[in-house]
Amino acid sequence: MNKTFVVAKWEYMERIKSKMFIASLFIFPIIMIAFLILPSLLVSRAEDTQKVIGLVDPENKLSPALIRNIEEGFTLVDNQPIYVIRKIEEPAADKETLRMIANSLVFAEDIEGYIYIPPDIFETNQPEYYSTNVGNVKDQGRFTGIIRDILTEFRLEDRGIDPDIVNEVVKPVHLRTVRISPSGDEKESDYLTIFLTSYIFLMAMMMLIATSGQILIRSVVEEKTNRIIEVLASSCSPTDLMAGKILGLSALGLTQVGLYALMGVAAVLYFGFEGAAFENVWLLLPYFVIGYLFYAAIFVVVGSPLSSEQEAQQIAGWVVLVLLIPMIFAVLAMENPDMPIIRILSFIPFFTPSFMALRIPIAMPSTFDIVTTLGILALCTMIMMWIAGKIFRVAILSYGKRPSISEILQWIRSS
């Protein structure tokens, strides 16, 4: 036990002081935030350039309203219109010729693109947009909306209905969602908050397991390639060594996650987010800890027979993939957390921690589910640790060729 602690302290202290660790501590959240926020930030930035959009409307039916609504509907910071509509006209030209002219203007970069209103627009309901780049969803969305409104107005007028009346009558409905709990709390909460809460816990768990698991494999492989393992094995038992590593590195992982949690709490307090589903979160702790130990044992089983860092990286990557599977089910679990497939999967120890991390914030699972999943997970963790111990003992002294499955089974039986 004493030597376990010496190993744990070494693994923890030497790594927490390393520049790599400190750097990754800050780089990771920065990257995460960048990925979450930057794209929407970039898209929603104030528009600063004017675009010239062509309009081909052979029947000339929609043009006046269309030009007015588009040019007046959207303005730049300096109140200039974002879109300037250039009507493409040519006396006695048919629609194909007009489109040919419009195309050449696009290629000459005189116009960004052009809207084509087919003569049978009222039957097909299908305006067209031509451009060298049709990736600007925002522009296209705006045009679609305006054309739709104009068409609606025309149709209403055809039937002799005043569009203003319709606007008054048709109003959108907003569903207010309230999350209730047995304790009597009622909190306004929505899909996004719950989804994010679940997601954050899932991510935290994955990160803890993935980073410290990878460090675990790498540290064993490093000691093997440097043959330090021989001196270590002569100074403490393999069990001490394995337990010490798992203990030290999980403390490391918890430090990291703990720091992020602090940052998160600070952010919640600072920005005053409301309604996050935090009340059952304490229940996640046993899943976190036991789940971590389960995966640590798996990392030892797959990692300790290896002899090179490259192999270690590869294998660690595969294990992390298993952890990613629950992400596929995240949305499904959101809709119905007690769905049979979600329930069944949460009883499989590989998935238990992550599925429970998904389920608990959404809706409290039954006591039966909680007790059973924890029981199975704990039992499998003990079995896995036992196997890991057996394999570790032999594996640390075997170098070179990667052992076959049957050889590994022999190790488990023999020692």
Partner: protein, 314 residues
């Protein structure tokens, strides 16, 4: 004293260690000798309790292995390596901590040893910044820092420059004087001959010779001749009365029939060679090994390499 009794260890198909027994007395240097792959390292690992014997017993001053014994063993493995990214002092203190030393005590002793090996200035450097030879010295320090009673050194001299070889030899002499139980493992017979009081030669997992070095030499009689010469020495092999020979470019060791007088050999050799030095002497350890096994250490190793190569090419 370390007592090893009837040790057996089989790996899948190979009898790595086959009925090995010996005693290592305190205050003497015990040489565990033999070619690579003879079973030395496997025996050492069993003494260290890193692997378990199939059968056989190992006692330390009459006691079986325990954590307390583990803390009193110092081990320098043949294959060397250290953490690259960690600081020298931290690494030394970690290993000392595993042997039960407090951090303050280990620091004090580490400073003494670093000073002795002229490494003091590197105490706070990362290990990867040290030269290979200096890293070897660090490993030696790790193996003796906790003042172990039982010290096992596997090829301690390999990779050291001559100056540090002498320093290490002096330190081994001190440890011997202090009454430590010292196992010195090597496949270099010449080195063992200079260092060891007792020897145990293992070949293919079996003990082929065991006892006090001086006595074992006597048993083999004074029937070895060494010649230094100029010329083609190959004729020496064919001289009458020469039982075994090791002929090098200008040096040869001949083992002669006890019935043959050494002077007849010198007379014969003198006809063909310019003899610079002629000596009738005790057999060298290498010669003894040659006689016991029928091949020299080098030859056995060459053969083993060939076998490995053919296996690999299959």
């Amino acid at each position: 004293m370390i007592e090893v009794q009837n040790l057996y260890k089989t790996f899948t198909t190979i009898n790595a260690v086959n009925d090995v027994s010996f005693k290592v007395e305190p205050g003497r240097v015990f040489g565990l000798l033999g070619p690579n792959g003879a079973g030395k390292t496997t025996s050492i690992r069993m003494i260290l309790n890193i692997i378990y014997p199939d059968s056989g017993e190992i006692y330390f001053d009459g006691q079986p292995f325990s954590i307390d014994i583990q803390n009193r063993i110092g081990y320098l493995p043949e294959e060397r390596g250290l953490y690259r990214k960690n600081k020298l002092m931290h690494t030394i203190q970690y290993f000392a901590g595993l042997k039960g030393l407090s951090s303050r005590e280990s620091k004090k002793r580490a400073l003494y040893w670093l000073e002795r090996f002229q490494l003091s200035e590197y105490a706070n450097n990362k290990i990867e910044e040290l030269s290979k030879g200096n890293q070897q010295k660090v490993q030696f320090i790790i193996s003796v820092l906790h003042e172990p009673r039982y010290i096992i050194l596997d090829e301690p001299f390999s990779g050291l420059d001559p100056v540090n070889q002498i320093l290490l030899k002096d330190i081994l002499g001190e440890l011997r004087k202090e009454g430590k139980v010292l196992i010195f493992s090597t496949h270099q017979m010449e080195q063992a001959e200079k260092m060891c009081d007792d020897v145990c030669i293992i070949n293919r997992g079996r003990v082929v010779l065991y006892g006090k070095l001086s006595e074992e030499k006597k048993k083999f009689g004074i029937n070895t001749i060494s010649i230094e010469y100029e010329g083609d020495g190959s004729m020496l092999k064919r001289l009458g009365g020469v039982k075994r020979s090791a002929v090098y470019s200008n040096y040869a060791e001949l083992e002669i029939d006890s019935a043959v007088q050494p002077r007849t050999i010198i007379q014969e050799a003198n006809k063909y060679l310019d003899i610079r030095k002629f000596e009738v002497k005790e057999p060298t350890l290498n010669a003894i090994f040659l006689k016991l096994v029928g091949a020299s250490v080098e030859e056995i190793e060459l053969k083993d390499q060939e076998v490995q190569l053919t296996e690999a090419s299959l």
